[in-house]
């Protein structure tokens, strides 16, 4: 073979690792992404895994994927389609070849094409490439299993442990293909298996074997060069949405001086928030894994009554269960942050897939007139910022705040410039100071927020509850009082608008089309608008993080544009909300409910079509 690699220079490359759920694809993808980030690329990742913990091995249902997009500029999405697919078995080829760009590269484990595996993946023939119509692709069969075995021949390892190292071979090979060092991965292996020297040795050997294979068989695939990204100076780390959310809440606790209490119940894809906070006993977090979703929010509400920064985390079905208790928080006027990591619904729906279909539930999913503040994060790392802001609003305005993220943000990761706590906004909880004048429901005439006094504070003893009450906290069934209190609760949320920054216009103020989005679709929307502008089209984007209340300048922004298209991963919930709040504008809509993010091409095509119409 010719010892000369074809080097292809690219601005952005998308790689997808696919294999059986037991093949360690999530770890492989994460390690490669971390390496890319440490080496100075901007990245965006998308884990795509099945909801079954162990679907039958080798089947289509058991295929787990991890996609990463990396580049030398700003990377906002994990990429529509992969340039390179690494497939560990025939099921992975079949399930994920549709995510590869036409003519892209498919590297697969040649040894995995056994009769048994082919049958399990539902092939009619023993030729997956022909059967999946992949003849025009750059197909690279690699004897992964065999080479892994021979790399470990002289180690005293059982067959199962040997086969478990296959992912390291693929990882080593991919590191060579993209010219990235394996050193970070070696360090990780060393840390992770510190107590198992044999496993450390085995994994490192296989990793090297994969890398060396690439070098020795250079003709097999083009070697991609992606330069370091030109990004702002500073100290960076990689972070995913769930961890960023957890850390944003921790930061708010530290800044406000209110200890953090999390009552929660494990639910995909929100569980990691509970896990990340449970790890932080060092920072004094009290995490309470409750018996159910209801107890999750109720323990948290109890902690709020007792003076803590109270948080509960969940996903759609859990938000439904928490509805009554959110209503109690509205009525008792207690601060609490409810994190809802949205997933495909209704009911159990698509637990591991992303969607934006809980917007209406967040806004209105309770009995009675029960307004809450609703925020939505838009990138994995800005979950930190919006979790922090959600806590700030709750503590300063004595309101429940729902923070919407989604499965895509939760599991996706990106490099993040580490903030300094000294630069974060001050948070001033509304803690009562004067027991002489304190009344449970007396409030600031401007903000309409009441004061917070909790058990242990001498002289502030009072009663609150879910019944309608008067200013003293006494139960009141007076009809005028109910109207007044309803107006106050509504007004209090509306007043939060003074904490909401203006929505920005990205692109031309005289554009032919304004694209409107909210929450986790930001990356795809901004990329499609940016690319269209680079192609000379006049288009702009207004992306919302504050849903209730909407930014003050929303009307002013919308008024600048002739055409508005609202894009969301649901059947049009934000559109309906805007039609209600700002009915003077006409909204076109673009919706998708497939459990997957938008892709940039589909958005661009749609926008171009709208502009041509």
């Amino acid at each position: 073979m010719a010892k000369e690699a074809k080097v292809v220079e690219r601005e952005e490359v998308v790689v997808r690792f696919s294999g059986d759920s037991g093949d360690g694809m999530q770890l492989t993808g994460t390690l490669f992404s971390d390496t890319l980030a440490l080496e100075g690329n901007d990245i965006s990742t998308f884990p795509d895994y099945p909801s079954e913990i162990r679907a039958p091995q080798g089947t289509i249902g058991g295929v787990s994927g991890f996609q990463v997009n990396f580049g030398n500029g700003k990377v906002n999405t994990p990429g529509d389609q992969a340039d390179v697919l690494v497939a560990m078995n025939p099921a992975a080829i079949k399930a994920h070849c549709k995510f590869v760009k036409p003519g892209g590269t498919i590297i697969y484990d040649r040894d995995s094409l056994t009769e048994k595996n082919l049958k399990k993946a539902g092939y009619q023939t023993n030729d997956p490439i022909t059967e999946c119509k992949l003849k025009d692709y750059n197909i690279v069969p690699v004897p992964v299993t065999e080479l892994t075995k021979s790399a470990l021949a002289d180690l005293d390892l059982d067959n199962k442990s040997i086969l478990r190292s296959k992912n390291m071979f693929a990882l080593g090979l991919i590191c060579w293909v993209f010219n990235r060092p394996v050193q970070h991965i070696e360090e990780f292996i060393q840390r992770k298996f510190a107590k198992k020297p044999l496993i450390v040795e085995a994994n490192k050997k296989v990793l090297k074997a994969g890398f060396n294979y690439g070098m020795n068989v250079q003709a097999m695939t083009p070697q991609y060069m992606v330069d370091k990204a030109k990004i702002e100076k500073g100290k960076y780390r990689n972070i995913n949405g769930n961890v960023a959310t957890a850390w944003g809440l921790l930061a708010a606790a530290e800044k406000s001086g209110r200890p953090l209490f999390l009552g929660s119940y494990p639910i995909t894809p929100a569980t990691e928030v509970l896990q990340a906070l449970s790890e932080r006993k060092d920072l004094g977090v009290k995490s309470f894994q409750a018996e159910d979703e209801i107890a999750g929010i109720c323990t948290s509400l109890g902690a709020s009554f007792a003076g803590h920064l109270a948080v509960t985390s969940t996903s759609g079905p859990g938000l439904a269960l928490k509805g009554e208790a959110i209503g109690l928080a509205v009525m008792a006027e207690l601060p609490i942050v409810i994190v809802n990591v949205q997933r495909g619904g209704p009911s159990t729906g698509l637990p591991t897939k992303t969607e934006q279909s809980d917007l209406m539930q967040a806004l209105y999913g309770r009995n009675g007139e029960s307004p809450v503040v609703v925020l939505a994060a838009s990138t994995p790392s800005d979950c930190f910022e919006y979790a922090y802001k959600a806590a700030k609003i709750a503590l300063e305005r004595m309101v429940p705040v729902i923070l919407l993220t989604d499965g895509f943000l939760a599991n996706g990761s990106e490099p993040w410039k580490i903030p300094a706590m000294a630069d974060m906004d001050v948070i001033t909880p509304r803690i009562a100071k004067d027991p002489e004048t304190f009344k449970a429901y007396a409030r600031d005439p401007e903000l309409l927020a009441r004061e917070w006094a909790f058990p242990g504070m001498e002289g502030f003893q009072h009663r609150i509850g879910g019944l309608e009450k008067d200013i003293n906290g006494s139960v009141s069934h007076d009809f005028d009082n109910h109207q007044k209190m309803t107006d106050i609760r509504e007004g209090k949320v509306a007043k939060v608008v003074d904490m909401v920054p203006d929505v920005e216009i990205y692109g031309d103020e005289d554009a032919d089309l304004l694209v409107v989005g909210w929450g986790g679709t930001y990356g795809h929307l901004v990329t499609s608008v940016r690319q269209l502008r680079e192609e000379g089209k006049k288009v702009a984007l207004a992306h919302f993080n504050y849903i209730n209340p909407l930014p003050k300048n929303t009307e002013e922004v919308f008024a600048k544009f002739k055409d508005i298209v609202v894009c969301e991963l649901n059947m049009g919930q934000f559109t309906a909300y805007l039609r209600d709040k700002l009915p003077q504008f006409s909204y076109k809509q673009y919706n998708k409910v497939k459990g997957i993010p938008f892709d940039v091409e589909e958005l661009k095509n749609h926008f171009v079509q709208l502009m041509e119409d």
Binding site: R237, N238, W247, F288, C298, A310, G466
Partner: protein, 338 residues
């Protein structure tokens, strides 16, 4: 815990008008609890009373302490949050049989299992009063109510059994009319570290009047109630002439000095033993063959959640590397962009 502050019952009454029906057992239980609180030596502002929904759950509004009247069934979860957040508080949960055992059954058993240091006062009137007379999870089989016009076809819970089933550490029983005894039991509950469940047999004068007449008729109750005290003989009857003995794998009521039974045969109550066997038998005792047990039936020491939570945090913090958010943000893999 003893902070040597003394109060009177009046210090715990709020200015709100008490709106329970005249003759309702709740009045007496509230008096008993207020008396208990006045003598516990805890500062007034360190009491928190949490309730769910139901007649008895109006309780916090009639107290002058911090109070939270919450939503149906969730008092145990909310009280758990209050206590876990601030273990220095004395947290009292007021629930009825519907609130604690029907809609709130899951929270009830899990709170008991965790052994959070709460005092749960379970007002058991065996009926839904606030919704005007439907059967509850403690209504006896066959009970005719508005939603069971032909009688119920389900077995009731015995709350003490649920406490044992959830591996509870404290269970006591009292009756509304006996304020002095209720006060004693509530004081014991407050002193116990862990979840204390006090079942108060409570008469609903409107919808289930006389539910406990067979147990509580002044003419016969000396023979039908036994007041258990740790370390004392299990004696009852107008002149303590009767006792409980263990025979053929079960409890039996005997007359001391008759049929060959002597005072030595009568059992001594051991509330502190971890074994649940005898506690279970005592909880199960029912008329007509056996008296109904009152007093502290079970009171055992065990690790309790709110303290364990603080201990774990303190333990981790002894050797922590991360002491503040800046440490955390800069921990792990980071890199500089020049």
């Amino acid at each position: 815990m003893a902070e040597n502050v003394t109060y009177t019952l009046k210090d715990f009454k709020s200015s709100n008008e008490v709106r329970w029906c005249p003759g309702c057992g709740d009045h007496a239980v509230m008096n008993a609890i207020q008396k208990a609180m006045a003598t516990l030596g805890k500062k007034h502002e360190d009491y928190a009373v949490v309730s769910g929904i139901g007649c008895s759950s109006r309780f916090p509004y009639y107290m002058s302490t911090f109070g939270f009247h919450t939503i149906h069934g969730r008092a145990a979860a909310i009280a758990s949050g209050v206590k876990s957040a601030n273990p220095n508080l004395s947290v009292w949960q007021i629930s009825g049989d519907g609130d604690a055992l029907a809609i709130g059954g899951n929270h009830f058993i899990h709170t008991v299992r965790r052994n959070i240091d709460l005092n749960i006062i379970l007002f058991n009137n065996r009926i839904y009063g606030l919704t005007k007379g439907q059967y509850s999870p403690t209504s006896e089989r066959g009970k005719v109510t508005k939603t069971s016009p032909f009688g119920t076809i389900e077995e009731p819970f015995n709350p003490g059994n649920l406490v044992l089933g959830a591996r509870g550490t404290f269970f006591a029983r009292s009756i509304d009319s006996n304020v002095k005894h209720s006060q004693e039991v509530c004081t014991a509950a407050a002193k116990h570290k862990g979840t204390s469940v006090v079942e108060v047999l409570q008469n609903c004068v409107i919808f289930n009047h006389g539910a406990y007449n067979d147990i509580n008729d002044p003419k016969t109750r000396a023979d039908r109630q036994i007041f258990l005290k740790h370390g004392e003989k299990m004696l009852f009857g107008a002149n303590n002439e009767k006792g409980l003995v263990w025979e053929n794998g079960d409890l039996k009521a005997v007359v001391v000095g008759e049929n060959g039974y002597t005072i030595d045969d009568v059992l001594v109550h051991d509330a502190k033993t971890e074994s649940m066997n005898l506690h279970h038998a005592l909880i199960e005792m029912a008329l007509p063959s056996l008296p109904v047990a009152f007093g502290v039936i079970r009171d055992v020491e065990a690790p309790f959640y709110d303290e364990e939570m603080e201990k774990q945090i303190a333990h981790v913090q002894e050797t922590r590397k991360i002491t503040c958010m800046d440490d955390l943000l800069n921990s792990g893999d980071t890199w500089e962009v020049e």
